[in-house]
Symmetry: C2
Subunit: 182 residues, 2 copies
DNA sequence: TCAAAAGTGTTAACAATACACCCATGT
DNA sequence: ACATGGGTGTATTGTTAACACTTTTGA
């Protein structure tokens, strides 16, 4: 989980493009999934001036993320969602909302795949669900359930990376199923 | 379904307050449910100038709504969702999104009750679902399902309005369950 | 007494859960 | 040969869906 100071929208710039640009400028992160979260506009949320924040959340495999300090974000680090530091203004609320949205979309969207590479094994996918839900899942039931949703398919390739049986490599069937809300 | 020209946010005005105010000023409608929908900001969505729209949708019993022409909205009328007139800019997209959101929240939220008075019968509630889903529902299963959700309770009162058996009057148990998203 | 909507239970089909062992590989 | 993670099926339980008749009232 990443706390980013907000940026400003350029004239003639798309909202999502702005979010992507700010993310890139302040962290060096590129090419990941972004989804609009909510627009916060309480006049008192920043006591010093009126700020309206059109918030987005980003998802990525963690190994694609290399926090990089910049002029705006001089201190950068990763925090587990359960151990966030004290955040400014209403930013804790915003993160809680993002977290809630993420969890609620796990079951019916392809959001979990945004945290995996294009090609992945079922065990990797199960890990994502287990970490997010904070519970252990039964391997057989998980596989049955995910395959029944018809959103992934075998590639025919295998992952060989240990002294054990190779795992089938899967991919998402239709990458354009991405956006459920928008 | 109601097409409303957008209004402008006053300084120090809350976003939802703005939406409520505009709705009131242009239609006379007051005191109904509002929920933030999405923020649209494509630089080309209004070719003549850059407009960012923080959209809200409102829900109400139809008999609380009295379309009233105003300076901004000189032509006002109700349209079934399936027979909307041609709309300006990306407004058709916005309405489709609102419609989709409404349908998707039917099953797990208390959104349907926003279209009913505080006190209602199960037949009235079933009507709301049938109209929105555009299908007939089985009365016994509907009642079983809705009661199992434990969100409504009997008031002890009865509705007598025809030459038939009176209907029990229900109300929502906890009106503060209202907002699921926010 | 009739018409009109309210109210009510049971069965069958389907979906979700619990659960344990064999497989392929590298060392 | 053994340790490691990959892969599979069945039986039970819980949930959802189909289905028809009786009740109460006003006219």
């Amino acid at each position: 989980m990443w706390a980013l100071p907000g940026g400003f929208l350029d004239i003639d710039e798309d909202l999502e493009t702005c979010a992507k640009r700010e993310l890139q400028e302040e962290t060096g992160i590129e090419g990941i999934y972004l989804e609009q979260l909510y627009t916060f506009g309480d006049p008192q949320r920043d006591p010093s001036e009126r700020v309206i924040s059109i918030t987005y959340f980003a998802l990525s495999q963690s190994d694609h993320l290399m926090p990089k300090a910049s002029s705006d974000a001089t201190q950068t680090a990763w925090f587990p969602i359960s151990q966030l530091p004290e955040l400014a203004f209403d930013h804790a609320t915003i993160i809680q909302l993002a977290w809630k949205r993420l969890l609620s979309k796990l079951g019916y969207s392809t959001i979990a795949f945004k945290m995996l590479p294009k090609y992945f094994t079922l065990s990797q996918l199960q890990s994502v669900y287990e970490i997010l839900l904070n519970e252990n899942l039964d391997k057989r039931n998980f596989r049955k359930g995910i395959l029944a949703r018809n959103i992934i398919k075998e590639t025919g390739e295998y992952s060989r990376n240990g002294s054990h049986r190779p795992a089938k490599i899967y991919q998402v069937i239709n990458p354009s199923q991405i956006e459920i809300i928008k």
